[in-house]
């Protein structure tokens, strides 16, 4: 006798299908120095989807000195902090990217 598929299995299968595209894309985030006292940061995803509205934090000594989000083009231009700093792209669990200020040239 062939066992009937359970509702749980069906829901799990649907869940996997729905989750598939979301879990396979990779967050992408890069920053560079405009050399005018500002930095330019841009986010996106490997499937081409937009990073508009993704949370961005600028951290100095582990403390957020700026908490904002990427604009409609997935861009943030902001003043360059003094000293060591980190720009954090936070698109949710597993989708967080830290860019160290020392790498922003």
């Amino acid at each position: 006798m062939t066992p009937k598929p359970t509702l749980t299995a069906a829901v799990l299968a649907v869940g996997l299908l729905v989750a598939g595209p979301v879990s396979t894309h990779t967050p992408l985030f890069s920053c560079f120095d405009n050399y005018d006292g500002t930095i330019f940061c841009e986010g996106g995803f490997s499937d081409g989807s937009s990073a508009a509205g993704v949370k961005i934090e600028v951290l100095v000594a582990g403390q957020a000195v700026l908490s904002t989000e990427l604009d409609a083009d997935g861009i943030l231009e902001t003043g360059k902090p003094e000293g060591d700093y980190t720009v954090r792209f936070d698109a949710g669990p597993g989708h967080v990217i830290d860019v160290a200020g020392g790498e922003i040239e």
Binding site: L28, E42, G44
Partner: protein, 263 residues
């Protein structure tokens, strides 16, 4: 006399074995930083480093990023490009890269008169650069008269993998289009505007200098990429224009892709 004729026939045959390819070249097609990338426009025989053809002033040269078109023609500077047999006119340019995404370059050259065949050749060419790994439209068409639409990221291919494309004429698929394929065997040396005289490979026979494949009934083709480097695909005579200045015109569609070693 017969020997002379035979020799002449062999020279013609050798010429026929290599294909003209319009190059729109920059060495690094995956970049992570903003900058001004050097470009070279050269009309040549890239697999065998044969005769370089003199380019006239391009009709159009631009790039498209996120649907926005930006002119590149105004900043072109004439150069002399040296190949294995001669030097001929080409152009140097700059691709300004700032935002992440797909920079799709399109060149519509002026028709080139090929005296040996008494025809004009116009190779409408696309090349790609990506910044930051973010895809923003590499698969889109640019509404060119003759065009190869990539069906795989043309800048992110592994050697040993394959590339697929679709041949289009004014946006419509071209069934069973004839496509020539060449490997850029002599890396361009930008400092001296020449092909490296030393080839990367030695084809096993002349039949491998220019390979020929055909698209299927939907104009789609797939080609395995056996080696890292740049590969050119040229769909012959697929554009709508068939005559220029009273002579036959072959309006071809060229696309350049780059394969990388899997390390």
């Amino acid at each position: 006399m017969r020997a002379v004729l035979l020799a002449a026939a062999l020279i013609c045959a050798a010429d026929a074995a290599q294909a003209h390819f319009q190059l729109v070249y920059t060495p690094d097609v995956n970049v992570s930083r903003p900058g001004a990338l050097p470009l070279r426009l050269v009309f040549a025989h890239p697999a065998e480093n044969g005769h370089v053809m003199a380019m006239g002033e391009p009709l159009e040269f631009y790039f498209v990023l996120r649907g926005k078109r930006t002119d590149l023609k105004a900043d072109l500077a004439p150069i002399a490009w040296t190949g294995g047999h001669n030097a001929a006119a080409g152009f140097a340019g700059i691709l300004p890269v700032r935002r992440n995404g797909d920079y799709i370059m399109a060149l519509i050259p002026s028709p080139y008169y090929e005296a040996g065949e008494d025809i004009y050749i116009q190779q409408i060419t696309k090349s790609f650069v990506n910044k930051g790994g973010v895809p923003t439209g590499w698969e889109e068409t640019l509404d060119l008269p003759a065009e190869i639409r990539p069906l795989a990221k043309p800048y992110a291919l592994y050697a040993g993998g394959s590339f697929s494309g679709q041949v289009l004429s004014t946006g419509e698929p071209v069934p069973f289009a004839e496509i020539e394929v060449e490997y850029l065997n002599h890396p361009p040396v930008l400092d001296t505007n020449m092909f490296d005289p030393d080839g990367q490979i030695t084809p096993p026979s002349d039949a491998f200098i220019t390979m020929t494949i055909f698209a299927d009934a939907t104009g789609t083709f797939t080609f395995g990429l056996p080696r890292a480097g740049f590969w050119g695909f040229c769909a012959l005579g697929v554009g709508p224009e068939t005559e220029h200045e009273g002579k036959e015109l072959s309006q071809d569609a060229v696309i350049w892709v780059r394969a990388y070693d899997m390390k």
